[in-house]
Symmetry: C2
Subunit: 487 residues, 2 copies
């Protein structure tokens, strides 16, 4: 039972695990491709009460190269998600590439409690009394205030287009849904707004992970499905544990049940992350991987009839593509993904409060072991770790679940190779709230910089984005005010 | 300057001053016409953070006589405003009258910090750390939770229609705008959502008060306009103060500048309140008054050429219609409106935080003394009294001001005799968000029980309300969920 809960938490953390290697005071692996000013705005710790005047510095990145403020040219506003905003800025090339064409101001806003935007500094994560202001509603209110600030010196306020990927895409969509007067439209890429309780079967996520492997090779997915029993078999003896530790070059030899649990969690995350970053060109978003990393990995698993140590040796070669493509990693550290960097911790807390996204697997329709979703146990684990309990239906009450027919001016894009498409909007909600499917796409591929290897579907998606942005800007009406004075 | 700020606060309090005589532990003047169960729901003190688990009991009134829960018949949900909810229940006959025809559950939800719904009991009003959770956003979240609760035992959740008058009408409209998945539509009567900074000229409110008097008699309004100078003249000597105190039967003789200030504030509020309750039949909403009380009052002011004590004597007869129509009041207590009952205090706090509604008068286009709107002074007075400062544009950021073209399924009704129509929605925003004008109507006349003296315009308005409610219910789609389980 504990394993289950923890594994579920880990599954939840997949969005944030994208950040694992990048988040921190310095960003050693971050190639600086786009440049910006780093700015700050004082925002209230709590936007929804008047109990205190406490504020903190919200960080944002700004590039005004192409913008003429007094011409009310648009503002492209990235609604930051769970991690250091500079990492998102560098991995959202689409916004940078289209900014000149629209004469847009480019702004990337950091999400509170991530990166350097810590409301209570080092204490921010120490207690719910500090951490409890980490909610999507507060983050949206931060963005509303920042947008007002950006428009405050304008006689005629600029229209704003919101952009976001993954949780950031959810925020971009929610910003338009909750504050339509603040943003003219939103590009919400790979935004799993339907991943909440009661909306999507819990097994969908891992089924799509599996599908990404089946697409590369049916033998590959079958080999992985089979491997769990072989792992269970070999770790049943101490000699087997030693064999696996040695042959898989584990940094820490397998000894306890927890060690085995960590190894399996690491594997699940590795398979999931590879599906998310299964881009058609080499990338270094999460870790350095080759183009189409799943296909490369699956070249090592061509035959699902292998068994025992032979299978496990092949599997190790396969996962090496994920954790050691450059060849510079000395040993496999399965504790890495449980690292205590802020990005992960923050998302864990959000998953333990409002972002309750049930996940499970059945071992038949997916390539994983059986995992049952048990909310009560999940809640208990949250309480043990964070002293909070998740509010299972809060996100539905706040954001409407699938009942969002009144939403306007949102493009939801989803790559079908991306596991998070399980909770994505895959059909048009109206003529102005539309879905774009990118069959070959992984996690928010369309927000990344263009690349010669991009499939036609993602090139088309980006054209559709631009078409809608242009339409929204054409239809934009400046605020009705007695004076042009800002908010 | 102090006078100005305070008078503005008083002007702000007109919405709440409706409650002055009714709010409290007992409701002595409240005729019990409609019956209901009194129920409670535990709701979080703070819906927007996870810093604590604190909850409090939110009171609501419920009548299920005509409702069949398992047939998913509609819920008529009154979004309580600043006062004891029983008073609103008794003064919102329209909802009660149409409930049988729709087979509706009738619910009146009390607004936090009013009536008996005090989050911190007796401490609730003692300090911003307790009082600071008095915001419209928190109140809306209370209502969302209560609606979820009402639907929680239903396989197919009932559609909800929100109703509200005045600030309650604002909340009904905001509930639909912010949580369209929770309510199928909203009847927002006399809801001044455009009364905020930058949206409406500050002089509009008192101009409409004046217009209500001009409609009754131009001589009447002219007499009142003239009276301020006569008051200033007579109170310039001690003998004059004594004369006025005696002839106007003041409970507390005029002595200080503050006494004079209180008297003038009382007069302004009396004229304003009379315009709000200028109903075509005798009523006892605020105070017992005859049918068309302004006309009755104005019979005492037929000649604006009167001057000095003669004018002041006539004016006293006129205002007697307001403060002593029954003849049972022994003296005129100008401190009454500054009473410390919770309804007033709560609204004062809201006006000093998010509900910043600028008001002013010029003495030419209205019948009042010159009053300049000065936000800085207003803010200072708020800080002095409440230790909070108003956030001038917060309501615009939160609710969009006039930029609400995406709103759907709201009827905004306004009586043109009602001063609050200055900030009302007087034009259709779309085919589903419409405005109804009731030329002869005072403050949310349409929400009151039908009466033989009702003008045709208000009868028509109620028909339009019913037509839209029927349409919204026809178009209602139950939530898309994997099971019928509630929120």
């Amino acid at each position: 039972a504990e394993y289950m809960g923890s594994r579920v938490l880990t599954a939840m953390m997949n969005v944030s695990s994208l950040l694992v290697l990048c988040v921190g005071a310095v960003l050693p692996t971050l190639a600086i491709k786009y440049t910006y000013e780093i700015k700050y705005l004082d925002v209230p710790v709590d936007h929804f009460s008047f109990t205190s005047n406490a504020t903190f510095r919200l960080r944002y990145l700004q590039n005004a190269t192409h913008w003429r403020k007094h011409k009310a040219q648009p503002i492209f506003f990235y609604t930051g998600n769970e991690g250091d905003i500079e990492m998102f800025a560098q991995n959202t090339g689409f916004v940078w590439e289209i900014a000149p064409e629209f004469g847009a101001l480019v702004v990337f806003a950091e999400h509170r409690y991530y990166g350097q935007s810590l409301p209570f500094g080092n204490r921010s994560y120490t207690d719910p009394k500090y951490l409890g202001y980490l909610t999507s509603q507060q983050a949206l209110a931060d963005y509303v205030l920042l947008i007002s600030h950006l428009q405050s010196e304008q006689d005629r306020p600029s229209p704003v287009i919101a952009f976001g990927g993954s949780y950031g895409g959810m925020l971009a969509a929610y910003l338009r849904m909750k504050y339509p007067h603040m943003v003219a439209g939103a590009i919400a890429a790979s935004a799993p707004i339907f991943q909440f309780s009661g909306l999507t079967p819990c097994e969908a996520f891992y089924r799509i992970v599996t599908s990404a492997y089946n697409s590369a090779s049916i033998e590959c997915a079958a080999s992985i499905r089979k491997s769990w029993a072989e792992i269970n078999n070999i770790i049943s003896s101490d000699a087997g544990k030693l064999w696996l530790s040695t042959n898989w070059k584990l940094c820490k030899p397998l000894k306890t049940t927890d060690d085995v649990k960590d190894l399996k969690s690491w594997l699940i995350d590795a398979y999931t992350n590879l599906a998310m970053i299964n881009y058609p060109y080499p990338s270094n978003f999460l870790v350095p991987v080759p183009a189409k990393p799943i296909s490369v990995m699956c070249t090592h698993l061509p035959n699902s009839s292998l068994t025992g140590k032979t299978l496990l040796k092949s599997l190790f070669k396969a996962i090496t593509v994920y954790f050691n493509y450059t060849g510079s990693t000395k040993c496999l550290d399965v504790g890495t993904e449980a690292s205590t960097n802020l990005g992960d911790l923050g998302w864990e807390f959000q998953a333990c409060t409002e972002m309750v996204m049930p996940m499970c697997s059945d071992g038949h329709n997916d390539m994983f072991e059986v995992l049952i979703w048990n909310f009560a146990e999940y809640s208990d684990e949250c309480y043990k770790k964070w002293k909070v309990r998740p509010d299972e239906y809060r996100a539905l009450r706040m954001y409407g679940g699938k009942d969002i027919s009144t939403a306007t001016n949102i493009v939801f894009s989803n790559g079908l190779q991306d596991p998070w498409s399980s909770g994505g909007v895959l059909y048009n909600l109206s003529s102005s709230t539309v879905a774009i499917i990118i069959p070959e796409g992984a996690h928010h591929l369309d927000l990344r910089a263009s690349n010669p290897a991009d499939p036609i579907s993602v090139r088309t998606a980006r054209k559709v984005h631009r078409k809608f942005i242009r339409l929204w800007l054409q239809n934009y009406k400046p605020p009705e005010r007695m004076s042009g004075r800002g908010l």
